[in-house]
Symmetry: D2
Subunit: 289 residues, 4 copies
């Protein structure tokens, strides 16, 4: 699962009803146009009778350009009733970050971005507060403050969407952004908004999950990254992780320790999304790693 960074590859993500001959059809198609397959990963979901696949091949020597490939693959896709996406590793995701005051997730995402861990560009960071400006500008990224109140929310989201559209953003990462996005906003970016929630979902949905966890006396705390849908904290889960705590840990300890979890699960989600490893189906995700 080496990084896409230096690659020139094509990626197909496919799901369809499971049928005989699917693998052969896809493999033959790619082989007939001289693809050198680097990774192929498929899964048959026996309960749903679904076939899921991610295949990545070297474009060096491959016979088709994008338009040709789309045209040539369409009949196969139709024959097998596929939902499919075609991605190119050289086309970087345009990612915006939304943030408020907590900067632990932001600092991690920015550092990994600059280190080349993510296959993306970050044309802008948007915040409802000015606090993180120096950090964002240290990484040379334009920073926009758009305050949000109950009264100005509709207008603020309109400004946000304007900015996102200007920059052709196709992924929004909520790095502890403390505002709930409206249903309208979410509908604008289906499957394109990633949030980190500071609990092991579906435990402790909503506000102050560490407080809830502390009151319940759990022995592990968690964090979850997921796609945002119109229902709060209910979207498809991308990654989760947990950390052991004990009666010795105060509420503040839970909050402090949890920051490390939040960073990790969010960064994994961003990495996998920008490498086109995530396939959403049946309100869940398949992660091809």
């Amino acid at each position: 699962m080496a990084t896409n960074a230096a690659r020139n590859t094509g990626i197909l993500l496919i799901d369809c009803p499971d049928r005989k001959g699917l693998v052969a059809a896809i493999a033959n198609f790619l082989y007939s146009y001289n693809a050198n397959i680097l990774h192929a990963d498929q899964h048959q979901d026996a309960e749903l009778k679904l076939f899921l696949m991610r295949v990545e091949w070297d474009l060096d020597g491959f016979a088709l350009d994008e338009a040709q490939l789309r045209a040539a693959f369409a009949p196969i896709a139709e024959q097998f009733q596929m939902r499919w996406r075609l991605e190119y590793s050289t086309v970087k995701t345009k990612m915006a970050i939304f943030v408020s005051k907590y900067d632990h997730c932001l600092v991690d995402v920015l550092y990994r971005y600059r280190s080349g861990e993510f296959n993306c560009d970050i044309p802008l960071v948007i915040s409802n507060h000015p606090d993180v400006r120096p950090l964002v500008e240290f990484y040379g990224i334009p920073f926009h403050v758009i305050p949000v109140t109950a009264d100005t929310k509709v207008e603020a989201e309109r400004q946000q969407i304007d900015l996102l559209e200007q920059h052709n953003v196709d992924l929004i990462v909520l790095a502890r952004y403390m505002q709930v996005l409206s249903g309208d906003f979410v509908a604008h970016y289906p499957g394109k908004v990633i949030n980190v929630h500071h609990s092991f979902l579906p435990a402790f949905i909503g506000a102050k999950p560490y407080h809830q966890a502390f009151a319940r006396g759990v022995k592990l705390i968690g964090a979850t990254s997921h796609y945002v849908t119109e229902v709060l904290d209910a979207g498809p889960i991308i990654e989760q992780d947990v950390l052991r705590v004990s009666h010795r840990d105060s509420l503040q300890d839970l909050i402090d320790k949890g920051r490390d979890l939040e960073r990790t699960v969010l960064s994994h989600a961003v990495k996998w999304h920008t490498e086109h490893r995530v396939l959403v189906y049946d309100k869940k995700t398949a992660i091809f790693i």
Copy 2:
């Protein structure tokens, strides 16, 4: 945290409002009667302003027998408004196991018991089905079948309590016992019934937690051991653990993998309880390990 098995020790478990001089008072008390402290572990809960302590000392050379110790310690306990328990490592917990048909937790508890991992005797195993009889009898433990239906539940619980009282049972372990105990039964054994629930509580309370977890698409499954209270799956948590799963895991895989989690979290709870390492306060547990 070596096992109590070969020890001859006294154990005090204390909780009270935090005040200056508590540690000095307890340490002086024990020292004045020639105690050799093997372990002392205390915790100051800053939120609740509580002091929690477990201290274990060698009885070899200690000046007081049980009655003398209780008499001598009572004034100190009163002065500091302590809730306190005195335990002796040589007095083994009398533990009953309740089980139905699933035997993975049972086989683990019985094996560890025979290996000396638990500081307990097991005078009987009670089941609502006859299936696990050979296993129980292999370990030389009397086995009682008490069928339970909606109609016979009151009578069945009366029989169970009769048996438990005959054997002076002071701990009941529900090793995947598939009946919900009545409030009356639970009230009979407060803080003395340990259950294992096959989810990371408070996620997936109630029936079929693996089905719920599978439907939600979680990336980790969990198990929880806890004391049973009148509210289902809401008692103080003793231990939790999780295991990574992916889209490749079917519902059956979750059930299969989860068995290992259930065994571990239940066995830890039994070990700690029988070594008098668990102190319940504020609907939570402090585990002194």
Copy 3:
């Protein structure tokens, strides 16, 4: 990765130099004989320029019996210079267990075997001590005592091999068997002997690894299951796991806690081997799960 237990499937394990057209050739071959692929998992090792694959398909409706399949596949295998194995899920591995006095791994393997977690038969257990006889016979398995001393080792191993050959054993599991097998014995069963070593290899090779770990002051202890080769503790690693320890843990605590690790890593290895998920290459293993 559901269990093979109820399946009627064929499994191909393949490794060869990586070349274009490999996946297409294999997929076409299977499709042309009406295979319904249940799982296919391949890996391209970029460093070694190797292609590794495991494919499993439903035999229901498949056109070829074993002899026909071997004959039909041979030319493809030759064309691509494949090393390959064909397995059938209905042909259970014949597994022998070697054990001494410690029975924690044995009890776990036997329980999982009886629960159907392993796709194997266990025709016999061999020990150099009589201690575990009752446990083995509880599970209805013939038990053989073959004492081993420095003087009798050659003769003892001859007896062991005689018994193994009588029962057509094709997997030997060393469940904390405290004798080092001779090079001759190992050469008899290449890639067919699985051992569990009670450390995180390659740390703490050889005798008394918990003592070594305790002296070094490590913060995690480990266990490793691996194939046995002529070099002590140097064979291909199948599975490893670790557990956190602290200065509070005595040497005996390390030994006690380590038992749970040893059971887990050994059982995983047995499960994966008997489901034909392990492919050895370049002194390592690929585990197709």
Copy 4:
């Protein structure tokens, strides 16, 4: 184990031969001067017959200043043959960071420092390369480049020590500093240099541990933070952690994933050291958390 940040506390770290009356003597001493104990944690090492203790108390209302406390405690320390240290949470550790070109540990330490996770000041960062200057200066910390070659090493270390002494540095953190410190340097700062090694020590000592791990085919990679002694990678271990890998991970994947491990184990070590939670004894550490 809440942070020291906002505290005004005294801390005693003690080790001595285990004897009756130790806890009572220490608790009485503190109580007699009106200490409010916030945390007390002791451990009896049965093998070595050692008593280890960390006790932390609120200085608010405490009767003694530092000189008085040292004078008053000395006779008790002598009576029980204690090695002891007295620390004050308001006296921050003066910490220098040594770094080369890899900046993943540096960026994590600097962020946590600025967030108040560490109870320290960082008067300077020293590197043998200029690369990380912008990052260090973003955090407002003086940055010194001291190139090191085989020929200039003695002189370079003299310059380093001059700088460290000018700033009264009492902790040196090697955040992937790629030069081996001389025995002379190490002797200057005994128990005051923390290194992170990118393996699970004692596996893969020395150069290129990820290469070694990859060649061996391990299923987990690790990282270790430890005090530096004159023997390479053999000093007392402070923290270790591991991460699961598989045959799918290339050597580069191991390096990439390992970075997260290195950051975590180093940051834990720095946090614990600067909160005076680490006690070195018998070539190991006790971590009082």
